[in-house]
Amino acid sequence: MPASIRAIATHFPEAVLDNAQLAARFPDWTPEKIEQKTGIAFRRVAAEGETSSDLACQAAARLFASGICRPEEIGYLILVSQSPDHFMPTSACILQHRLGLPTSAGAVDVNQGCSGWIYGLGLAKAIIESGQAARVLLLTAETFSKFMHPEDKGSLTIFGDGAAATLVEAAGDSPGNIVGQMVYGTDGSGADNLIIRNGAFRNRGLAGTAPGTDKFGNLCSADHFYMNGPEVFNFTLRTVPSAVNAVLAAHALELDQVDIVVFHQANKYMLDHLRQKLRIPSERFLLAMRDHGNITSSTIPNALLIAEQEGRIRRGARVLALGFGVGYSWGGTVLNWEAGLSLPKS
């Protein structure tokens, strides 16, 4: 039985950071310029003590509350996050209990970022198609705000907190949204360009390192998230076109046979450039970062949910999804959107 995406639900924390607030803190930018460059108007920010697993729990609860699926029907839980509750135990184990999933269910954390939904989807597909479970709950969740230095205006402008719950199940006789061949890629030579250096074991005891600036003037703190924007942009220029071609080749498709392209929603500037480089018509390209910013591993399911709610994905559409980022890591697939999503009530 092929794996199919049945439903997606999202959850975001209450607090909002808008462009006027950012411009007040960083006066060399205007709210208009921020939105023009990034495509982002609002970001949600988790409260003190509110963790990724809390957001994931709420997204999953919304999915269950809709009646699409009951907790006891889940055979496997995958949590994609780089902000766990603890080093141990696995946050997915804590969520199994909080969500009331069966004790017979598998549960695992996947430490992956902007490519994470694709990697989780690939694992869910493998689990389902090998007969290990009939329903997989794929949760993606991040509280990036807790990683950022309060003066890192570049990261504060782009990233937001949020979670998505994706229900993946074995397709039955009725139409589904079939997950195609998975294509992956990794290049650890880029590890230093998206990194939180301190806090784990490589730099144990080094917390409290004074921040500096990198060669481009970006704030650089080993205790916080660091992004080398120009290097990351170059990575996407080198990698995304070839990754798209690899996904198309795996499905024996040409780009003009794809109806919708959804990339990891990094920021509008980057995606506009990639869209033009790949000559993808704007009407076939999803941009959905305005209200929540870059929510890392949850951007693709959030964009798919918004597009479904807005009626932008017709039944039978071929949807090319591609995630890329920290690692470096990337991955993609084609979804055959035969059924549409079962939409939870908002």
């Binding site: 060669k215 481009f216 003037g217 924007g229 120009p230 942009f233 170059n234 080198r238 450039h273 480089k277």
Partner: protein, 76 residues
């Protein structure tokens, strides 16, 4: 793309009127020479010259003319 056209494009990156930059200006003395300007320049060379330039090469540039040289314009 000619050298003059490239200079006009760099004018736009810094929100300057066309024809402002001659090439001799020091980058550090131009308002707005930051990582966003670097991204804009990488984007410009990729889209107009099909060159993916290394950020370290941009960081090593001192003047606008140094940026122009990265474009590998014919006859330059």
């Amino acid at each position: 793309m000619s050298r003059q056209e490239l200079l006009h494009e760099i004018d736009e990156i810094f929100y300057l009127s066309r024809g402002t930059l001659s090439g001799k200006e020091k980058l550090k003395e131009i308002e707005g020479w930051d990582s966003m300007a670097v991204l804009n320049f990488i984007s410009l060379l990729d889209s107009r010259c099909a060159i993916i330039v290394a950020p370290d090469a941009i960081a090593a540039c001192v003047t606008v003319d140094d940026l122009v040289r990265l474009a590998e314009l014919p006859g330059a």
